[in-house]
């Protein structure tokens, strides 16, 4: 846990200095922080940026880097509300035109990537520049399975990583997110997540993606997929519920399409058999809960899936879309305790992952499959809207 050094002459000079870019660097290990500072020094000209951070200052700070200390907060694997509050506050003080937030292990982002994020806001009048990471095919699967397709269908946003660990904002975007962050109760601060892309759509702001290449993704201290999935999915479901009047408007998706990025598949093996076994066990034991949430056709389709061998296992894209939509509706209706509900989604998610891995093993690029899944979510959005407005369970 980083502790703040006494403020040096360097930082005293930075206290109120103007800067084009305010860079908020979240808590990270010292070696990573040092790397971030070096990359920032390479990316931006001296005097054009200020770093706001609580990280311990390295002994040999590049002279071009001006640093101000932020209040202490605990390290996390995702951006926290306090990060947005701090970014807006310090950016305001320094008259910044771009607010760059860098999450843990951001030293893996190249200077070019950092510069590109800032330029999107400074030069292209983008309000929210979101990184497009090049990740191994087995990384970020919760995002691929749920976050991306759901935000794309609901908010007509093609941002591939809606819960990115880094982003760059315009002043008005920063203020908006700081406002949202400030509304989070103190008791919820530790687990709360903000959804910048959704907020940008709600505000009518301009969003764009920036290719940043590969990035090391921070891992949570407790890598329990159950709790992580429940936290992230529950947070997104809650945000979608709050913005119901917005995403039910007819909305034209942005025309810009990112090229598919082919990434090396060989990042280790995944235990498909274990995931399929978990799904089959749940299919036997969770029928009572699933039947409260899913319509007969979906339950029947899942039963068919449960008869497949791990090697041949797959989950149809349309089925997965409906499952997520029905869980979203059940979340809103509080059909059952929300914690139990999200827990019941996990084996279904594992089933999707197993199917996704099998698709890749068959030679189909991961991104192509993910795009197909996202398209299935888009096609079936009317189903979500209809179920949302008329949650009668006497449906097919």
């Amino acid at each position: 846990m980083a502790t703040a050094n006494p403020i040096t002459d360097n930082t005293q000079a930075a206290e109120n200095a103007a800067a084009d870019v305010l860079v908020l660097v979240t808590p990270m290990a010292p070696e990573h922080f040092k790397g971030v500072l070096a990359n920032l020094g390479s990316a931006f000209s001296s005097g054009s940026f200020v770093v706001a951070t609580q990280n311990e200052l390295p002994a040999d700070i590049p002279s071009s880097v001006r640093i101000v200390a932020t209040p202490q907060s605990s390290a996390a694997w995702a951006l926290k509300p306090i990060d947005f509050v701090n970014a807006a506050q310090y950016g305001r003080v320094h008259g910044a035109k771009a607010f760059l937030i860098l999450g843990p292990e951001a030293d893996s982002l190249s200077p070019l990537a950092l510069r590109s994020l800032a330029d999107a806001v400074l030069s292209a009048s983008i309000d929210l520049a979101v990184p497009h990471y090049s990740l191994p095919s087995h990384a970020g699967l919760v995002n691929s399975a749920i976050l991306y397709p759901l935000t794309r269908a609901a908010f007509a946003s093609r941002v591939r990583f809606p819960l990115s660990i880094d982003l760059c904002m315009s002043p008005r975007m920063a203020e908006r997110l700081a406002g949202v962050a400030s509304a989070v109760s103190p008791a919820s601060q530790a687990d709360a997540l903000l959804w910048p892309v959704n907020e940008a759509v709600a505000a009518g702001f301009v969003t764009d993606e920036v290719d940043v290449g590969s990035r090391a993704m921070p891992q949570p201290s407790d890598p329990d997929v159950n709790s992580i999935l429940a936290l992230i999915t529950g947070s997104l479901f809650a945000d979608i519920e709050a913005k119901a009047a917005l995403w039910q408007r007819p909305r034209r998706p942005p025309l810009v399409r990112r090229p598919m990025v082919e990434v090396d598949l060989s990042d280790g093996t995944a235990d498909v058999a274990r995931m399929v076994a978990a799904f089959k066990l749940a299919n036997a034991n969770l029928q009572e809960i699933w039947s409260l949430v899913l319509p007969p056709n979906s339950l029947l389709a899942l039963r068919r899936c449960s008869t497949l061998d791990p090697v041949a296992f797959s989950m149809p894209d349309g089925l997965w879309a409906r499952i997520v939509y029905d869980f979203l509706v059940a979340y809103r209706l509080r059909t059952i305790n929300r914690g139990h509900l999200l827990g019941a989604l996990i084996p279904l998610y594992l089933a999707w992952v197993a199917g996704h891995i099998n698709v890749m093993a068959s030679g189909i690029p991961a991104e192509r499959h993910i795009e197909a899944v996202a398209a299935a979510f888009e096609v079936d959005k009317p189903y979500l809207v209809a179920r949302w407005r008329w949650p009668d369970r006497f449906n097919s």
């Binding site: 007819p250 008329w390 006497f394």
Partner: protein, 564 residues
């Protein structure tokens, strides 16, 4: 700095769903047979789940209860039968935490004859400020042109008081003497009472019987300029010290006479649209939209910050004051075959019995309530189709205990049934074993679920509370069709076409929608796409008593949207 209550949007009342209830009728926690504030507090989850955003409380102040609390003997306390002031504060805080505003009554046209002001006035010398808190006369000949409102019980607007040795003026019951607004002391006291509750963070005040505040000889004593001056004074006092509050006018008048109660945005924020309500029932029974379109044509525009309050039923009789004699007779024939159903100039029945408990009619009327321009006001119990008891006196038949379950006393109270403030409804059709919240919560096809879904749908679209209204006039008069439109100021325009079949038989209709050519109607409940509109007449067929809400989506957006 102005004191804010719970609402952050100054125009919160335009998007509100108001629920009218009587504390004594809702839930009894202490087992004395009378509903109370602690009991009401336990039901806030239910109301929030229903979609209610504002609770309107009928009078809960100390009162001899000869007019169900509208005869007030103390403006700044709570009737002990309903709890204490602290109980009210606890309820108010909890309602705010449930994201609900609270509106209370400001019954300032008259007090109870048991109010200390009146007791003092009777004894005070004529001409003294205490005496002049009320309107006195040596004879009963003044204000002869003022009509009698409670025709069933009162023969005159004057009553002789033996102690005062004079007549006192009352537009309502004789035990409700009218306050004298020509006396500055009256306004001072009314302002004090108002501030007492507003300081507590009450969000709204319903001004009961507002047209009758002032009297002048040679007039009807209704809607006088002096009355409007009083209202402006009260509004100014609120605006200077409080933010985001609401005054709702109860002015049972023709639309043109209600319009002045909005002023230039400097009188009341809202007013009930009384004349529309009976005409909805007329239109339904006659299977003809004319009564509705006619009264809406007579409804003048109101200031942008103001709003109509719409309702199907309330705690009073279904008033037939603002209809013609023929229309009144028709309504009596149509909706109150039994003379016991009539009281004063109205019909004392609830919504469901009025329409013979026909589910389709109930849904149709609620679809109008939720889609017409204004803020809908639901009467407690109508969301589950509660019945009434016409054998109870006055308007008590529509004020029976809320029916929560099939348990003893409908789950309203655990007391000895004989102790209930009024008996629960127990006939075979509307009785509490059949019609209750618990049963309907577990029945997905219930009226309660339907109401909840419709309210939720309405809340998704600001056009219903803030948009314009344009009637389409198809040749088939059994069809009521209208457009609601709203420019949301962010480049997005909401356009909703509402089509209602007032007939018990299926009906065809062709609509001229040429102005919306190339728009695609999307049925809003099931998100079903209908054929794209062209310059040709648009043909629809509607089932008996059915309605359609169609969002007209522009083609430029639709062509990019995925197909259903």
């Amino acid at each position: 700095m102005k004191k804010i209550a719970s609402a952050t949007d100054p125009l919160w009342y335009k998007d509100a769903i108001i629920y009218e209830l009587h504390v004594r009728a809702f839930s009894d926690l202490n087992g004395d047979g009378i509903g109370d504030f602690p009991g009401l507090l336990t039901k806030l989850d239910y109301l929030q789940d229903l979609g209610v955003t504002c609770i309107w409380l009928l009078p809960f102040f100390p009162s001899p209860l000869r007019d169900d609390g509208y005869d007030i003997s103390n403006y700044v306390d709570v009737n002990p039968s309903y709890g204490t002031l602290n109980d009210f504060k606890a309820f108010l805080g909890a309602a705010h935490q449930h994201n609900m505003q609270v509106m209370i009554e400001l019954v300032v046209n008259h007090t109870s004859d048991q109010h200390p002001w009146f007791k003092a006035a009777r004894l005070a010398p004529p001409g003294s400020p205490q005496r002049d808190m009320y309107v006195w006369s040596d004879n009963d000949q003044r204000y002869k042109d003022a009509r009698i409102i409670f025709t069933d019980t009162e023969k005159s607007n004057w009553t002789w008081d033996d102690t005062a040795k004079a007549y006192y003026w009352h537009r309502f019951f004789s035990y409700q003497p009218d306050l004298n607004y020509d006396n500055p002391l009256v306004i001072e006291e009314v302002l004090k009472a108002m501030r007492f509750w507003l300081d507590m963070e009450v969000d709204g005040l319903r001004m009961d019987a507002i047209p009758y505040l002032c009297e002048r000889d040679g007039t009807s004593c209704e809607n006088l300029p002096e009355t409007h001056a009083v209202v402006r004074r009260l509004r100014a006092a609120i605006d200077s010290d409080y933010a985001n509050r609401l005054i709702l006018a109860e002015a049972n008048q023709w639309p043109a006479d209600v319009r002045p109660y909005f002023g230039d945005g400097d009188e009341c924020h809202m007013a009930f649209h009384f004349p529309l309500m009976p005409r909805i029932y007329m239109a339904l029974r006659q299977e003809d939209r004319l009564p509705i379109t006619d009264i809406m044509a007579q409804t003048p525009p109101i200031p942008d910050l103001c709003q109509w309050g719409l309702f199907l039923r309330n705690h009073d009789e279904l008033t037939l004051e603002m209809v013609t004699e023929d229309e009144r007779d028709y309504m009596y024939f149509a909706y109150s075959a039994d003379p016991r159903m009539r009281v004063n100039v109205g019909i004392r029945r609830r919504l469901a019995p009025l329409v013979d408990n026909n589910r389709r009619r109930i849904e149709l009327l609620n679809s109008l309530l939720l889609s017409f321009p204004g803020t809908p006001i639901l009467y407690y119990g109508d969301e589950i189709g509660m019945g009434d008891n016409i054998y109870l006196g006055d308007r008590n038949g529509v004020r029976t205990p809320m029916q929560w379950s099939s348990d003893r006393n409908a789950g309203f109270s655990k007391c000895d049934p004989a102790r209930l403030y009024l008996p629960v409804v127990m006939d075979p059709i509307y009785g509490y074993p059949v019609v209750n919240v618990e049963a309907q919560l577990s029945d997905q096809s219930s009226l309660l679920h339907w109401m909840r879904n419709m309210i939720a749908l309405r809340k998704l679209f600001q056009v219903f509370g803030r948009g314009t209204l344009t009637f389409l006039n198809p040749s088939n008069r059994k069809i009521l069709a209208y457009l609601r439109e709203l420019d949301q100021g962010d480049g997005f325009r909401q356009t909703v076409l509402c089509v209602a079949n007032l007939s018990r038989f299926a009906q065809p209709v062709t609509l001229d929608l040429a102005n919306y050519a190339d728009h695609e109607p999307v049925e809003m409940l099931g998100y079903v796409r209908f054929p794209t509109i062209t310059r040709d007449p648009y043909v629809l067929t509607l089932a008996p008593y059915s309605f359609l809400w169609l969002e007209l989506q522009a083609a430029s957006v639709v062509e990019e949207m995925p197909a259903a």
